[in-house]
Symmetry: C2
Subunit: 344 residues, 2 copies
């Protein structure tokens, strides 16, 4: 079969959707994925991170490079984003106690020291919120025109007794989102395009490992899949979860928590909030009997107060995400890529 990849890498290959997954599968991980040990999660799984057996526990590892533009946006900055994104990827695998973070920075020559200080303070504050510590780092400087601003890489490491995957859904399971959708992407988009609405829009960027810890404790074994809906939004997360689990998903549109100002901005731009990135939210797959316990645990915390049951898994239409609007049903497309480059 001929490769479906272009000869040159374009922006859509980094945008979190189908094109990126093809690049990763056909080029970046070719010949690299070793045989995972029993139950181990490696490259081939393309989960939020990897899980490796260490004694009788699991070492969970995840890495992200952050290229967001602008580096400062309403509600956060690249430092807070880097720590939150990495902590949340660990949490999505059930690893809510962070053992260590690393932070490698690539800075453009001429970058203002005071901006670096601001970013560093955000990193420090987000680490404190997450109960995480940066243990080692790396510093590089590139010339003007060789890099635009700053790129931060964070890698996270955590130990856990039980790994939660993104493929554990079965028919009858419910889907819960931990809060309002689209806040991060719309805030960055508004700032980028100078929308008037900008004042009302703020990114939700936050570490949610403590929230997830509370949920897992409240309903042991009943949270069977998790994913943080970043690039590509909830639509992309649901597609991955459904495909990997071998189920269909029906979403109740009227149940989706979306702030009025996010909905207004999305309508203005003709964008579906399901396709917009979040940086402090999770999509949880939950056994039906545990829904009340999970919702109660979420709503008991500020970061989970807008949590809602938004859908359920079906045995038919495997891999399809169906939106029930109340008036009818339509398919939710998987984004080919993110609407906005450099969203995280």
């Amino acid at each position: 079969m001929a490769s479906v990849l272009d000869d040159r890498i374009t922006l859509r290959y980094g945008a979190g959707g189908r094109a990126m997954r093809t690049l990763i599968r056909e080029v970046l991980t070719a010949g690299l994925a070793r045989d995972d040990g029993a139950d181990e999660v490696g490259l081939a799984a393309m989960d939020d991170g990897a899980a490796i057996r260490v004694g009788d526990r699991w070492l969970v590892v995840t890495t992200d490079s952050h290229v967001i533009k602008p580096a400062f946006f309403p509600g956060g900055d690249i430092g807070r984003l880097a720590v939150s994104g990495t902590v949340n990827d660990l949490a999505m695998m059930g690893a809510t106690d962070v053992l260590a973070l690393t932070c490698a920075v690539v800075i453009e020559e001429g970058f203002a020291r005071e901006d670096l200080v601001r970013i560093q303070r955000s990193i420090r504050d987000a680490c404190a919120e997450a109960g995480a510590a940066i243990v080692t780092g790396d510093t590089k400087v590139m010339g003007r025109g060789e890099i635009d601003g700053i790129v931060l890489n964070t890698t996270g490491i955590a130990l856990t007794d039980a790994v939660v995957r993104d493929c554990g859904l079965r028919a009858g399971d419910r889907l819960i989102v931990t809060g309002t959708l689209g806040d991060h992407g719309m805030a960055v988009m508004a700032r980028r395009h100078g929308l008037e609405l900008e004042a009302d829009l703020r990114s939700d960027v936050a570490p949610i490992n403590a929230l997830i810890r509370a949920v897992l404790a409240a309903a042991p074994g009943a949270v069977v899949a998790m994913k943080d809906p970043t690039r590509g939004g909830v639509a992309s997360a649901l597609h991955e979860m459904a495909e990997k689990s071998g189920v269909g998903i029906v979403i109740d549109e009227t149940a989706l928590p979306v702030r009025a100002e996010v909905r207004a901005a999305a309508e203005l731009l003709g964008i579906d909030p399901l396709h917009v990135a979040n940086e402090g939210k999770a999509v949880l797959g939950v056994r039906p009997e545990a829904v009340d316990a999970v919702l109660a645990a979420l709503r008991a915390q500020p970061l989970g107060e807008h949590a809602a049951v938004v859908g359920r898994c079906t045995a038919d239409r495997v891999g399809a995400i169906v939106l029930d609007t109340g008036f009818g049903r339509r398919l939710v497309a998987e984004p080919e890529g993110e609407l906005l480059p450099r969203i995280c």
Copy 2:
């Protein structure tokens, strides 16, 4: 005390020397370094990586972003460099069995797919040489003019029973280099400047964890400090080791292994090979009674065949690196920064 940092970040802050260490201390790690547990190695130590207690073992973690230009150079490419650099940083802390590597890639829009394939193959081959596996990754694409080519971040994780630090030297210890000096930096410099000598110059980039494993097994407890002399070369590595250990160091110039073609290129450019980066070498601090065992273990392997004892530690002139030329003595300056930007 007023900060000695400039208001804008310049290239020297990423160059591995004194300026970079000041930036890291005054800005990047401010308020981040937690109190290390007993014997733990954290941010404050500014070692090659961090070491964290996990049960009765040590989890060693290191991270590096690789920005080398050109991405392909005689003897290697950015993929081989990323894997080798990270594996070697782990090995320098005594952790020679790699548990996991992560690899995050930031690619310029328009980057040729075939170049990406070449780099990925180098990553795969270097992993095989090191007995290491990449377990998770991240992919971002930035626009033209937003990044120059490709930036790779690799983070390495390993478990070890005993950590080797870079501060364990005492008077009387010997210093051993595992092979010829300056090969990587001179090869890249020659390629960059189009020197005629280029054909004879090749980077030494290689994972040396197996070599270090053999040495540690041959002389248990006798290798008391290790460092890989990358940015800033052997001069920078020796300065850090001497300062942290509280010793002086005398180097025998006639004992330094330097290839004739490297020496010729260095003389042509007026550069001291001690200041030139290496990517497949280590500087070892060894108790005097174990020197023969360490040398024998090194020379038994191709990557260590040119190993040599090059100096010894003194109780006086703490922090100074003295070069004994055979005709007299002079101080070896610590480089303020690397001679060449984007060397690794």
